[in-house]
């Protein structure tokens, strides 16, 4: 499946250990700055409907704001109950001071 890069925001708009919501074509994503890199995942927690951009980023992990289910940001793996289903992740690049997310072409 082909992918296309989409501009999310300026890199300095996401501070270290923060996340930002990105909506595109009817879907929502969370874009993270862990301090060690920028990453992106599906926006909604896989446990219940809460947006992870409102969650707490702790190092390489994000905690859902609702029940503090934990995910490893770079891999999307669920690492703490009540989260047990992994998040889908997406490639991210930082170019010329801006963050881009790669999404499947038809999204």
């Amino acid at each position: 499946m082909t992918q296309a890069w989409h501009l999310v925001c300026k890199a300095d708009q996401i501070e270290e250990e923060e996340a930002r919501r990105f909506n595109y074509a009817g879907k929502t994503y969370a874009v993270y700055n862990t301090g060690r890199g920028h990453y992106a995942s599906d926006g909604m927690c896989t446990h219940e409907k809460a947006h992870l951009a409102r969650g707490v980023v702790v190092g390489d992990f994000v905690e859902c704001p609702l029940h503090q289910g934990r995910f490893h940001i770079p891999t999307g793996k669920a690492k703490g109950a009540p989260a047990c289903i992994d998040l889908k992740t997406y490639p991210v690049k930082v170019e010329d001071g801006s963050i881009f997310i790669a999404l499947p072409q038809d999204e």
Partner: protein, 325 residues
Amino acid sequence: MSEVTATDAQSSGVVCDERQLKTLARRSDVPGLRHLGLWILMLVGSGWLLHLSLGGAAVIPALALFGTALTVPAYSLSHECSHGTAFRTRWLNESVLWLTSLIYMEGPTMRRYAHARHHSYTWMQGKDVQMPFRTPLTPKGWLLEISGIGQYLYDAEHMARNALGRFHPDVVDFTPPSELTKLKWEARAMLAIYAAGATATALSGALWPLVYLVVPRLVGGVAMQLFTIIQHAEMEENTPDLRRSTRSFATNRVGRFLYANMNHHIEHHLYPRIPFHALPKLGEALREQLPQPSRGLFATNLEVLRAVAQRTFGKRRGLTGERAL
């Protein structure tokens, strides 16, 4: 895309600046380590008083003091750790969670899933699995809860059923199928630890586990229930507004320490990602939007008991919690 869940800040019509929430939500090990250190000091101090009191009349208040010092923080710290908010360092959080869960007597994973359901559907009949008693509360129900017997029966039933793999329908409902095996082995591990302790005690003839663990835990269970029963008892049911279903109360420094600031219970339910040490600041930030906290631990318990008594004797209908905001 709708993100409204059953009970949270949005469903309650409460707003707070996101930047402020992010600041308040920041994780740190320092407050949790300080809290843990003070708890250990409290246990050593009150345990020493208990030791000195053995054999005399002073053993009763000493037992009540030590039991309270053991059980109430075990509850509040295990609750905080189950949210993952007590410490920034995960292994520290999980270690303290396990230790305090052994005292509180509920498996960590079971706690996380049951408590998540409680947060999603706070005080909603048929959905909130942590509604511990039939409502309206009867005098018998109140006694069962305040004595701690209600909790022991609930925990014993679930731990036994989980260990056998014969899960209660509620547990099957709120636990993803892939996690049920974990629940089973966790219950087995806890029961094995309890059995090993009991066996070692019986074989050695040592009394200290009874004197410093079992009996204080039972006595302290009453103190714990005084804190926890007023979280939601006699508040409005089946409402998405946490300000109607949940109670915050004012208490002194000792109460706030024992309860890890969970007297800010409405605030905790509105934003569960805020760690215990930041709850007073959150309370300040939300003050204009929240009802006045109830007066004191004992006064609030009397309020609940009065409502139960008045309803039993036909002088009051409905719940006490329906009040103007």
